[in-house]
Amino acid sequence: MNSTCTMTYVEAAIAALREEMQRDASVWALGEDLGRGGVFGQYKGLQNEFGPARIADTPISEAAIMGAALGAAMTGTRPVVEMRFSDFALCAVDELVNQAAKARYMFGGQARAPLVVREPVGMWGYLAAQHSQSLESWYTHIPGLVVLAPATARDAKGLLKAAIRCDDPVVLLEHKNLWPMRGEVANGMDALTPIGKADVARSGKDITLVSWSAMVHECLAAADILASEGIEAEVIDLRSLWPWDEEAVFASLRKTGRLVIVQEAVTTSGFGAEIAARVAETCHSDLKSPIQRLGSPRVPIPYAPLLENELKVSPQMITAAVKLSVRS
C-alpha cells in the first residue's frame, strides 16, 4: 500500500474525488459546467462515470450552490462544492461564513456540515482583479472552517480525500498554476494527507522559509539558488492553514533562528501575519533576526502581464530577503 505513481495535480484531484465517490455513496459534487469537466478539467470523466445526479451541473447561483450544499450536508450527504474561481465564492459568503461555519455551534452540536468548498485560487492566465485573488486568510479567521492549500500532486489528492472525510466544512484552495504540475502520488484508498501537518519540503539549517500553495515552489527555487551560494534554507510547506502546524514552524525556527514567510496573497492581514504574530509571541528569544514577510502589495490584480508580474513574489525576492536576514 506504500506504492506511488506519477501524475499531475489535476489528475490527482480527479483520482481523489473518484475514489471517495466509489468508497462512499453519500459523496457528490455540484457546480457550474461540471458535466463538461469543470473549467480546469478537474472533474473530467466523472459525470460519465457517476451520472448527473452525483456530478451535478447547477444554475449560475453561487448562493444557492453553497446554501444547498449546507442543507444537503446537514442531512446525510457529503457535498463537494465547486466555486470555479475563488473570487465567485464572494457571492456566497453568508452561506459559508454565517451559515455553514456556524451551524454545528449555533445549534449546540446537533448539526454537522461535512462539505468541501473547492476554490481555484491565485494569479493565472492574466484574468485581472476578479479572477485571481487569494483570500485564504479570511477563512482562517472564521471559527468552524478548516482551510487547506495543497502545493503538490500528492497533497492535491491526499488533502481532497481528507477534506471529504472531514465532518466539518473545509475550504480547499487549489492553485490554478499547479494543475499541470507532476509529482509522486501515493496509491491506496486511505492514502490521506493528515490535516494540520506541515511538510518539510526541503531541510536546511540556516533559515526557515514558510509557505503554502504555489509559492512553495518559488521557495524551493530560491533554496536551490541559495544552496549554490552556501546558504541552506529549510522550506516548510504548511499544506493546512487551519489547523496549522505551529510546532513544525517553531521546531524549524529553534534550529535556524531566522524566518521568511512567503505568500501570494496581499501581505497586509494575509495569513503570513498570523504566522509572524505567533512566532513573535512564542519564539521571540529564538529569533536571530527580524521576521520578514513577502507577499503582494495592497493593490488589486491588474490585467497586463507586466503589471501583474509586479505583484508576484519571485525567487529573486526570496533570496534577497534571505540574505538580508542571514547578514543581520
Binding site: S61, G67, L70, A72, A73, M74, T77, F107, Q110, L145
Partner: protein, 350 residues
C-alpha cells in the same frame, strides 16, 4: 403597489376536491381541537416569553409570531417526524408545531442548560434536529437555499419526505429567494415553500418595498405551482398544506404557499409597533386565527367550557415551563469551546 384581495377560489386552485367546504360544514372535531390546542400553545409560549423579557430572563431578542399561529399549525399537521423544516428569526411557532419540547425551547431562550442548542443559539437559532427541525435563522431568506439543499439530499438518498421552508414577505426581496426556488424547481425537489405574509418587514411596510404582484407571482415565474390563502384560517391552511404535501409526495415538485396573515405585536418582543397605523392593526387583528378557530369550535357545538379548558391547559403548561426554565441552571461555561469543529478546536482555547 396594493396587495391583491383574498381570492377564495385560489384556495381550491390546487385541485382539492371541495374538502375545505366539507371541513367548514362538517369539520373533524378532534382535528380542529388539536389545531386549537397547538395554536394556543404557541400563543401561550410566546406570551410567557414576552413576559419573561420584563423579568430579565431573556438575554437576547425574540420575534413573536402571535397572530400567525394558524400557518405553522396547519402546515405541520401534514408533516411527519422524518419530514424536515427550516425556519426564520420568527421561529417558535414552527418549532413547537413540528413537535419540539417546549421547555427545552424556553431554556434556550433563557440561555440555560438543557436548551435545545445548549444555550448557544437562543431564539434566533432554535433547532431540534431530532424531530427534523433544522433551525431558525438570523439572516433573512438564508434558510431558503438550505432547505432546497436538504430536499436535494432527500432526493439523492431516495427518501419520500418533504422539506417545509417558512419565511416572511420581506424575504422575497432577497436574492436567495430566487436562487433557492429556481434550484428546487430545476432539480425537481420536494420542498414546500411557505411565505408567511404578515405585511411587515421589521418596521417597514413590505408593500412599499416589494414591486410587482407579490410573492406568489414571483414563485410562479420560477415555475412553481402555488396558492394564495388566508393564513389566519386554520382550515384553509390545513387544506392547502394537505394538497401541497400530497402533490409534492406524488412527485409534483416544489410547491409554494402564500399565506396572508398579520403580526399582532411589534417586530421584536419589546417593539410597541407605534409606527403602525392603528386602524390597519385593528382591522387586521379582527381576523385572529385563534378566535376564528374558537368560533368554528362553537359552531360545531363544542361547549364554552371545553374551549376554555384547552386555553387554560395551554396557558398552564407554558406558565409551568417558564417557571421551570427560570430555575434551570446556567450552562457550564467550559462548553463554550465545544461544538466548534473536530480539527483545530482544542487549540482555539486560550
Amino acid at each position: 403597489m396594493q396587495k391583491p384581495e383574498y381570492d377564495a377560489e385560489l384556495v381550491h386552485a390546487l385541485g382539492g376536491a371541495g374538502l375545505l367546504t366539507d371541513q367548514k360544514n362538517n369539520p373533524d372535531i378532534e382535528r380542529l381541537k388539536d389545531h386549537y390546542r397547538q395554536m394556543l400553545r404557541i400563543r401561550a409560549f410566546e406570551s410567557e416569553a414576552v413576559r419573561a423579557i420584563a423579568d430579565a430572563l431573556v438575554p437576547g431578542f425574540i420575534h413573536p409570531s402571535i397572530g400567525q399561529e394558524a400557518v405553522p399549525v396547519g402546515v405541520c399537521a401534514h408533516l411527519g417526524r422524518d419530514d424536515l423544516l427550516l425556519s426564520t428569526h420568527r421561529g417558535h411557532g414552527h418549532t413547537l408545531a413540528k413537535g419540539a419540547d417546549a421547555e427545552a425551547m424556553m431554556r434556550e431562550l433563557f440561555g440555560r442548560e438543557g436548551g435545545t442548542c445548549r444555550g448557544k443559539g437562543g431564539s434566533m437559532h432554535i433547532a431540534d434536529f431530532s424531530i427534523g427541525m433544522l433551525g431558525a435563522n438570523g439572516v433573512v431568506a438564508a434558510n431558503i437555499t438550505i432547505a432546497a439543499g436538504a430536499a436535494h439530499a432527500l432526493k439523492l438518498r431516495g427518501k419520500n419526505n418533504v422539506v417545509a421552508c417558512f419565511f416572511g414577505d420581506g424575504a422575497t426581496n432577497r436574492g436567495p429567494f430566487l436562487e433557492g426556488l429556481n434550484w428546487a424547481k430545476t432539480f425537481d425537489l420536494p420542498v414546500l415553500f411557505v411565505c408567511e405574509d404578515n405585511q411587515w418587514s421589521a418596521t417597514t411596510k413590505t408593500s412599499a418595498m416589494l414591486a410587482g404582484p407579490g410573492p406568489l407571482a414571483r414563485a410562479q415565474s420560477f415555475g412553481l405551482a402555488g396558492t394564495s390563502i388566508n393564513g389566519n384560517d386554520i382550515l384553509a391552511v390545513d387544506e392547502a398544506a394537505k394538497n401541497a404535501v400530497a402533490s409534492i409526495k406524488n412527485g409534483g415538485g416544489p410547491h409554494f404557499l402564500h399565506c396572508r396573515t398579520y403580526r399582532h405585536g411589534g417586530h421584536t418582543g419589546t417593539d410597541p409597533a407605534a409606527y403602525r397605523d392603528a386602524a390597519e392593526a385593528e382591522t387586521a387583528m379582527r381576523d385572529d386565527p385563534v378566535a376564528t378557530c374558537a368560533q368554528l369550535l362553537r359552531k360545531a357545538d363544542i361547549s364554552e367550557s371545553s374551549i376554555r379548558a384547552i386555553e387554560e391547559e395551554a396557558t398552564a403548561e407554558m406558565r409551568r415551563i417558564k417557571d421551570n426554565a427560570s430555575h434551570a441552571p446556567w450552562p457550564d461555561k467550559r462548553i463554550v469551546y465545544e461544538d466548534v469543529q473536530d480539527l483545530g478546536a482544542v487549540e482555539a482555547g486560550r
